[in-house]
Amino acid sequence: MAFVQRYLIPRLLQYMLVIFLGVTAVFVIPRLTPTDPVLQTIAQLRSQGSYLDPATMDQLIQDLTELYGLEGSMWDQYIALWKRLFRGDFGVSFFQFPTPVSVLIGRALPWTVGLLLTTTVISWVFGNIIGGLAGYFSRKRWAQALDVVAMLIRPLPYYIFAFTLLLLLGYVVRLFPIAGGAGLGRKPEWTWVYIRDVLRHAFLPALSLTILGGTLWFQTMKLIVQNVNAESFVQYAKLGGVKESIIVSKYVIRNAMLPQVTALGLALGQIFSGALITEIVFSYPGLGTLLYNAVITGDYNLIMGITLLSIVAITTAILALDLLYPLFDPRVRYR
């Protein structure tokens, strides 16, 4: 009962407060920018000099303002937003009118989750395992060589690194496609041909994220392990004749894992913000470009839909970590 009162309830309240404040901020901030969604839509309709009679433009502005639900004061719109959100309705996208925001997010989400979940987990697992071993055996030559490789790769700006991969494996060697999520003319279906095609298109984006993400996990884990390895309790265990495999797994890795588990939780929560630069370099579908375009065009409902998803995901990840942490760290449980 004490756990519920002193630990669970405060965190649930904090969880709801963060979501409330996040939604409010996402409602207000886009409306403070000079981007007007109605004028953006009209500007796109008039793109390349296509003709819309200016005499009827004012009427069109009025019609669109009404259709987009932008009539009334900010407060009226804010109240209307919460009413919609409680019904689970994100509204329609302004720029892709009348497509519902949920449809747009639902279409982009599998690409983003498929790519980022896979690469985050793979890079975390391999980065931590190799980093842990390289940290424990830091005087070995192979560990030093890996460290040099990581030091060379890590500082590379992601855009440059990703574009280099595209250039090498898409243009010079031509092993992988240079753009898109699937081949031209291929319709989504559960066949090996289509799945293989999707995997082939995802390879370069995934490789770029895995390598750069993996080197980050590798370096942090290596440093943490080196620090833990220098702690007195590890030295005592070694002097006490504890088996090395037990020292590595129970004494060093377990302690070193704690911050990495926290970081993994946050990284998984951030998946829902998308991977904008990856999507741009590889012309890959996902939430990143959807959100970017929504911001540029002042598509308030779409901005709200994607950021709400991200806010909920990150706060849920933090809540889950808070609740699960006692399982990893007995010191938290004893408090």
Binding site: Y51, Q96, W111, V148, I178, L184, F282, P285, I296
Partner: protein
């Protein structure tokens, strides 16, 4: 060991760099091509077609590459790929809908200066007071599902657009149309609420128009605003094959009954069996795709075009020699002043700022001399030099500014194009000395570089210089000009703004360039000094009518700062311009002489007032790969407009030639 590892990695990187540098290097051999225009064989210069060493893939995705044409989609990834209802909102119509699936009633072809009858069978016929227009329709056209196209479709379209508020054109049709009816299957009559001699232009495709709905489909739909129209049906020569649910490509297949489309009837069978519009998120990806022959046509930036031409042996630009670019786009670039804000509300100040510009330096900085100068607010291309710019030369030469104290100045400089040509030669580009070429490539004139005259005009209006030679406003405060533009450095709005800032700085004004992604909203609300916005709305690109160019200066559209305007962002108007617009409204747009007389008057008023000043025509950086397809409409053979994103791309498809690879 660390040193050895470093050496190993450095060697690997060096090897990879070498691989990049040693990318595919094809060779070239000449191949002859021919073409037929509207059934008439025409002799044309053969275009050399290079033959690369490496073999490109036979199949791309599911398409046989040799029968497929791939073009980059200008407006990028489609946000609503399932939705083809282009009458509602923005639906990325350049994904092939306006170019391949749809036929409009009429199309603008700016390269030939012609208006092409698509679904219409001739010009619109207005009654005397322009309250009624009769449109003859083409016989023998069917929709891509086999249903015949008739006047009932046009009537249904107008009535449906008027019935539902959610349609983009709802307001326009409600405001203009009293009644629409079809006296027979191939004639449609619009009765209008008030006289409107340009009503038909809503059906004239200039990168978009009011498209005709297939009545047999939309009449069965409960809510035509929310209807996704998927799969779509059109009267164009292609039908939808497939599309990427993520929005990166849309594929079209030639109709088996292509001869039932206006394109087939007018120009014959389109050559590509499939046409794919593909979106790329970066220019780098576009260039790479073209270098490996996976992209046949693309619009690039200036630097992108240079890179593509340098690397691709089978790449070509619109022009085979300098300046390579598309310089017949019907759009004039330049600078716009916010005339609702002092001191830009004073035409003499605006003129002083123009005379402080050395146009050769300006254009050299902006586009390396590749643009065609125009002294008036329409581009010096297509029909416009003959209709307007050449006949206006005498007036321009005599146009005089009053400098005060009885002193006057004639600002026009017919030698400016020759000076620009000299600059181009100094850059090492070989160009003919032929005056006709100079006029075609660099224009007929611009304005003198006269900083001394600019100074006199400013002093006349109370401006002064401080001890450092910097200009001060009449109230004694330092003069700072903020020139806002888009943030995309390759855009000509950005390039114009940057060049103007440089010139005015040189003249002693504290000018700064403010690139912004919000430029559209900021200028529409009037919260700026000077912008890189086009100085006038783009003309049609065909015919003599300048109504759409001048109408944005209608005083009815002028709004106070803080309210969005749908007129020109300069917020300038005048009773004289209103009178010209009234005259144009009362003139049949097909009466060329009367239209030119009124249009010329409008251009003169703009030159006198310069709410914005024109510089050079819009430049397009088109790159074509001739590996699979040739006979593109380049400058040596401009049988139609060159863009794959414009509607008349459909009229290019019968003339493209497969190379047989």
């Amino acid at each position: 060991m660390r040193g050895k590892s470093m050496l190993l990695i450095a060697s690997l990187l060096a090897a990879l760099s070498l691989l990049v540098a040693c990318g595919p290097t094809p060779t070239m051999t000449p191949v002859e091509v021919t073409r037929i225009v509207q059934g008439t064989p025409i002799v044309v210069t053969a275009t050399p077609v290079p033959v690369p060493k490496e073999k490109a893939p036979d199949v791309l995705g599911v398409f046989p590459r040799s029968e497929t044409l791939i073009a980059a989609q200008l407006t990028g990834r489609v946000g609503a790929p399932d939705d083809f209802n282009e009458w509602v909102g923005w639906k990325w119509r350049d994904r092939g809908m306006q170019q391949l699936m749809n036929e409009p009633l009429w199309s603008i072809d700016f390269a030939t200066g012609q208006i092409i009858n698509g679904l219409a069978d001739g010009d619109p016929i207005y009654n005397e007071d322009f309250t009624q227009v009769t449109i003859p329709l083409r016989k023998g056209v069917t929709w891509s599902d086999g249903e015949p196209f008739t006047a009932a479709d046009v009537v249904f379209t107008a009535e449906t657009l008027m019935k539902y508020e959610g349609f983009n054109a709802h307001s326009f049709f409600v405001e203009n149309v009293k009644r629409v009816y079809a006296p027979d299957d191939y004639t449609v009559v619009f009765e209008l609420n008030q006289p409107n001699s340009r009503f038909h232009t809503t059906f004239l495709d200039r990168w978009g128009s009011t498209w005709i709905m297939p009545k047999h489909i939309f009449e069965k739909v409960d809510d035509p605003v929310k209807f996704q129209f998927n799969p779509p049906v059109g009267t164009g020569p292609y039908k939808l094959h497939s599309y990427d649910p993520a929005g990166y490509w849309t594929a079209w297949e030639k109709r088996e009954d292509w001869d039932k489309s206006p394109t087939g009837i007018l120009f014959g069978e389109p050559k590509p069996k499939y046409i794919v519009f593909q979106a790329f998120a970066t220019e780098g990806a576009k260039i790479l795709a073209q270098l490996i022959h996976q992209l046949d046509a693309v619009d690039l930036s200036a630097d992108g075009l240079k890179a593509a031409l340098a690397q691709g042996e089978t790449n070509r630009a619109y022009q085979l020699t300098f300046p390579w670019v598309v310089n017949n786009d019907p759009c004039i670039t330049g600078i716009t002043f916010n005339t609702a804000k002092p001191p830009y509300d004073n035409p003499e100040v605006r003129w002083a700022l123009i005379l402080a510009i050395d146009i050769v330096e300006y254009e050299a900085q902006a586009v390396d001399g590749a643009g065609t100068l125009s002294p008036v607010h329409i581009p010096s291309l297509g029909p416009y030099p003959e209709y307007y710019i050449k006949p206006m030369q005498d007036w321009l030469k005599e146009f005089t500014l009053d400098l005060g104290n009885g002193e006057t100045f004639k600002p026009y400089d017919p030698e400016a194009p020759a000076r620009l040509a000299e600059y181009v030669k100094s850059r090492g580009y070989a160009i003919p000395d032929d005056p006709a070429f100079i006029a075609q490539a660099f224009g007929y004139g611009w304005y003198k570089y006269a900083p001394d005259v600019a100074e006199k005009l400013l002093i006349k209006n109370g401006f002064s210089r401080d001890a450092d030679g910097k200009w001060r406003l009449p109230d004694g405060k330092p003069w700072r000009i903020e020139v806002i533009s888009r943030s995309d450095m390759s855009h000509l709005e950005y390039k114009n703004a940057a060049a103007a800032v440089q010139q005015w700085k040189k003249f002693g004004i504290d000018a700064v360039h403010v690139p912004s992604d919000q430029v559209s909203a900021v200028t529409q609300y009037g919260e700026y000094d000077v912008s890189g916005n086009w100085p006038a709305f783009e003309p049609w690109g065909a015919g003599a009518d300048l109504y759409r160019t001048l109408d944005v200066f209608n005083s009815a559209y002028v709004k106070p700062i803080g309210e969005p305007t749908q007129g020109h962002t300069s917020r300038w108007s005048s009773p004289e311009m209103d009178a010209v617009l009234k005259r144009l409204r009362e003139t049949d747009p097909t009466h060329t002489e009367q239209v030119i007389a009124a249009g010329t008057e409008g251009l003169k008023i703009l030159v006198q007032n310069m709410p914005g000043f024109p510089t050079f025509g819009y430049i397009g950086f088109v790159s074509w790969d001739e590996y699979y397809w040739t006979n593109w409409p380049g400058a040596e053979n401009p049988y139609t407009q060159p863009y794959t994103h414009w509607g008349p791309f459909k009229y290019m498809t019968p003339f493209l030639q497969p190379t047989g690879r």
